[in-house]
């Protein structure tokens, strides 16, 4: 199975969802299925699945404290410790995790190693860090912005984000910066997988699928806003109904909306079964979230068991004569 198959299958799967939603959205009898049932089911799968996975990880033991130390340890008082990269306190660990989760600290270190006339040359390469950051933050802001559909009155904060996000006031309705960023960043992540040979070699169908899915979500969202208008009042009514657990299915929202919802629902339902779970896993990764304090404070392994250690007595019994001859003290003459 080569790249073409992986690509074809993941793109095909996303297109199939689009077609099904387009057709289904046109049939008014099916609209409650795509507008209410599918979103509810997807959200339930997401919630239960996500919690299950995180609890499952959380319940598995951490037998040894083995963080990767990326800075100076706490040692003699006159040597300056790197409290973030080699934390020795909970506060330090929190600092390290904040940098990791919110600023992608480790990805920021990324360099590119290349071969040039027999030497390895290291180039700074912040594109992946920038792309990942742009993608995750624009996705987050877009998700938060969407809360205005589910809340009445719309909280001040969400209106504020809306305002800032659309501050350039390009076109009417206003173009959101995050829409551009998201589509741009996802495209970058996708293209990177396709044109960088190493990336192409390591990428799987399940790497392409979420990218196509999110790209589809972005494109259908933008289409809905600018080109194929939907009845926004109906959308709000539906969203409010879903949020208040009194779902209603307004007439005439427009089929493109069902495409958007179907793709988002797929993303939700797919989430717990996929690599997207890194969102939960990053917090639990023992490579980062433990303090380097093994020598100062004993870490307890819940399943530690005694093992057979070759005893000194056996050792001396084997070598006693030789030890005596060499003048090495023995326990029994």
């Amino acid at each position: 199975m080569g790249v073409k198959v992986s690509l074809g299958v993941s793109l095909g799967a996303v297109l199939a969802i689009v077609v099904v939603a387009l057709v289904g959205g046109e049939v008014s009898a099916l609209q409650p299925v795509f507008g209410i049932l599918v979103p509810y089911a997807a959200f339930a799968i997401f919630l239960v699945g996500f919690i299950y996975r995180v609890v499952d990880w959380g319940r598995s033991p951490v037998p040894y404290r083995i963080p990767t130390t990326c800075g100076q340890q706490k040692t003699l008082p006159w040597i300056k410790q790197n409290k973030i990269e080699c934390p020795s306190s909970t506060l330090g660990v929190i600092g390290r995790m904040i940098l990791e989760v919110f600023a992608f600290r480790s990805l920021f270190r990324h360099t590119k190693a290349e071969m040039a006339s027999g030497n390895i040359v290291y180039g700074g390469s912040k594109w992946i860090w920038l792309g990942a950051l742009a993608f995750h933050y624009s996705f987050l802001i877009i998700a938060v912005r969407h809360l205005r559909l589910f809340l009445e009155p719309v909280p001040f904060l969400i209106n504020g984000i809306d305002l800032v996000d659309g501050m350039f006031q390009i076109g009417a309705p206003t173009l959101y910066l995050t829409d551009l960023l998201l589509i741009g960043a996802v495209s970058y992540l996708l293209v990177r997988r396709l044109i960088v040979p190493k990336m192409r070699y390591i990428s799987l169908a399940n790497d392409y699928f979420p990218l196509f899915l999110i790209l589809g979500i972005g494109i259908s969202g933008v289409l809905m806003r600018f080109f194929i208008r939907v009845d926004i009042v109906g959308v709000k009514e539906l969203a409010m109904g879903l949020a208040t657990l009194h779902p209603v299915m307004p007439e005439g929202i427009g089929a493109i909306f069902f495409v958007h919802v179907a793709l988002v629902s797929t993303l939700f339902a797919y989430f717990p079964f996929s690599k997207l779970m890194h969102a939960g896993g990053v917090f639990l990764s023992p490579g980062r979230n433990l303090a380097n304090t093994n020598r100062a404070k004993m870490h307890v392994n819940p399943w530690e068991y005694p093992v057979k250690i070759h005893s000194y007595e056996d050792y001396e019994n084997e070598f006693r004569e030789k030890m005596k001859e060499a003048g090495i003290p023995v326990e029994r003459e």
């Binding site: 040692t75 990805l107 390591i202 890194h278 490579g287 020598r295 307890v300 250690i309 090495i328």
Partner: protein
């Protein structure tokens, strides 16, 4: 300064992977890259994963690897067991997004261009089996979810590449989720250990360690003789005569170092450094022939074996009634000491919190573990002006420092050795920042891979380090590479012979010993290697 060897310039490693899918790669096991498998007889006296219950010797070149009939079941049972026991393993199997940040961080990949040496794919070899055998999506979607079944070919590939990882953790520094390929390799090796699939170099060391206490198989009298031989050299070159003690009850400190220091050049000169330093201080310490190996070769087979090896150190400290333990220059020894030892055997209530008898400094960072790193100990001595030093005796050396992987990324020991080196040498130069400290490269032979039959792998894996070394050799005339790891001292010289034939290798304590002004010493015209200081040109 000699120019780069010709093969250096012509070296053109292609980092572009081939077309197609790695899962379709045939098993292609190359000589020069793999290590010989362990003979079952070697492990008979160890009693663990020794193939004795099906008793078949195993030849890599053969089509059939002589696995037991229920090999698949054994493999999967062990894997399930480990997934349940280690959160690291479970999470690292689940959350990789294949972002590629680790891809060009591995010294074996950079030295060989073999795409399966990209850490992500090394892990995917096991991860794909995890998906195919343990997850529902993998079972249903198969290769569309990056899953595959455990087959003999998959197992062979796994074995081949798990023994091309030196567990150095460089990739884990760059991973946005802190996924540690070393951890995955450790799990993979332990699982395959269940099928008796380990290598001779590791297993024979384990076997020797169990009985004689050290991986060289030195019996007590031979261990003592090696140290005695070094004492004669010190007498010749320094003009001082003294006798350290062995297995002495009631000493204040037990000193443990990797046995490589006792036996192999240039490690023996690091040993001379310890001996001279402790004599100079009048330290109340003892050597042990029973706990005569700081390195833990069990760590390269299975957790239980690692614990069995390591347990001797505390056992001996207890038997001798020492107050605390001082540990010599070693790499994975210190990873194990720092990250596993107290958990394995603690709480350690039969020893006292380490206090330097010379300076009175309390080593608070070691108050539970009760072991101090020699670099912490020496840095503290120098800071308190307890050593008389003449760094000009090292003036013929232009020194750079190789951060050994394990003390760097498994302990965080960066400043102590630098402080020591700068106080005993006048000429110190750092290699490029992408190749030192937490981004340091492996020597190319860590985690039990410094056998002879895999020399091509070792030289290739050693290339990124040697390339950085070449840079400072050309730029500053660096002629000595200092390190704090016994495997480094064994592995860097052959790599340097190939890539940097005019750079020598030394332990930091050797540099200390050369600069150390000892009471009653003779005229120091010769260094502790026995060369005349004025005319000496180091070589690997």
């Amino acid at each position: 300064m000699a120019k780069n060897p010709e093969y250096y310039e012509s070296l053109n490693i292609d980092y572009k992977p081939p077309r197609g899918n790695w899962m379709d790669r045939p098993v292609d096991i190359k000589s020069g890259i793999y290590c010989y498998p362990a003979r079952p007889v070697v492990l008979e006296n160890v009693g663990m994963n020794d193939r004795s219950d099906w008793g078949k010797y195993w030849v890599i070149e053969d089509e059939d690897w002589e696995l037991p009939d229920d090999w698949k079941e054994r493999f999967l049972n062990k894997m399930r067991d480990m997934l349940d026991k280690y959160r690291t393993f479970k999470i690292y199997m689940d959350i990789c997004v294949r972002c590629g940040a680790c891809a060009d961080k591995c010294h074996y990949f950079l030295g060989s261009g073999d795409p399966m040496n990209m850490p992500v794919l090394r892990a995917e070899l096991l991860r794909s089996i995890y998906r195919g055998e343990f997850t529902k999506t993998g079972k249903i979607l198969g290769r569309f979810a990056g899953a595959r079944k455990l087959t003999k070919n998959a197992l062979k590939q796994l074995w081949y590449y798990m023994f091309q990882c030196s567990e150095c953790r460089r990739c884990s520094v760059f991973c946005p989720y802190g996924i540690d390929t070393a951890e995955i390799t450790i799990m993979g090796r332990e699982i395959m250990n269940e099928l008796g699939m380990n290598i001779a170099w590791v297993q024979e060391s384990v076997s020797k360690c169990i009985h004689t206490g050290n991986h060289l198989g030195l019996q007590p009298q031979a261990y003592k003789e090696c140290i005695d031989a070094m004492l004669w050299d010190i007498e010749d070159n320094v003009g001082i005569t003294f006798e350290p003690t062995f297995n002495r009850k009631g000493a204040e400190i037990l000193f443990v170092t990797p046995s490589g220091d006792v036996f192999a050049d240039p490690g023996i000169f690091t040993l001379a450094g310890y001996l001279m330093l402790f004599e100079h201080l009048g330290l109340d310490y003892t050597w042990s022939t029973y706990a005569s190996e700081g390195g833990d070769f069990g760590y390269f087979t299975a957790n239980e074996m690692a614990k069995r090896m390591n347990g001797k150190i505390y056992n001996e400290a207890k038997r001798l009634g020492v107050k605390w333990i001082l540990g010599g220059e070693c790499g994975h020894m210190w990873r194990v000491l720092n990250q596993y030892m107290t958990t394995w055997h603690g709480p350690i209530d039969f020893l006292e919190e380490p206090v330097s008898p010379i300076t009175g400094t309390k080593f608070e960072n070691a108050k539970a573990h009760k072991m101090v790193h020699i670099m912490e100990f020496v840095a503290d001595l120098i800071k308190h002006n307890k050593l008389k030093l003449d760094p000009s005796r090292n003036d013929h050396l232009k020194v750079t420092y190789h951060d050994s992987c394990n003390p760097s990324r498994g302990l965080g020991l960066f400043e102590e050795p630098r402080y020591v080196i700068k106080n005993v040498c006048n000429h110190f130069y750092e290699m490029p920042e992408n190749t030192i400290r937490e981004q340091t490269y492996c020597c190319g032979s860590g985690s039990g891979l410094n056998a002879s039959e895999n020399m091509e792998l070792r030289l290739r894996g050693g290339f990124p380090r040697q390339n950085a070394l070449r840079y400072v050799a050309d730029k500053y005339g660096v002629n000595m590479l200092a390190c704090i790891c016994a495997i480094d001292r064994a592995a860097l010289p052959p790599a340097a012979q190939y890539w940097n034939p005019d750079v020598g290798v030394t332990g930091v304590c050797e540099l200390v010993a050369n600069a150390l002004i000892m009471e009653g010493e003779g005229e120091r015209t010769h260094n502790i290697r026995g060369f005349e200081i004025a005319t000496w040109e180091p070589e690997p």
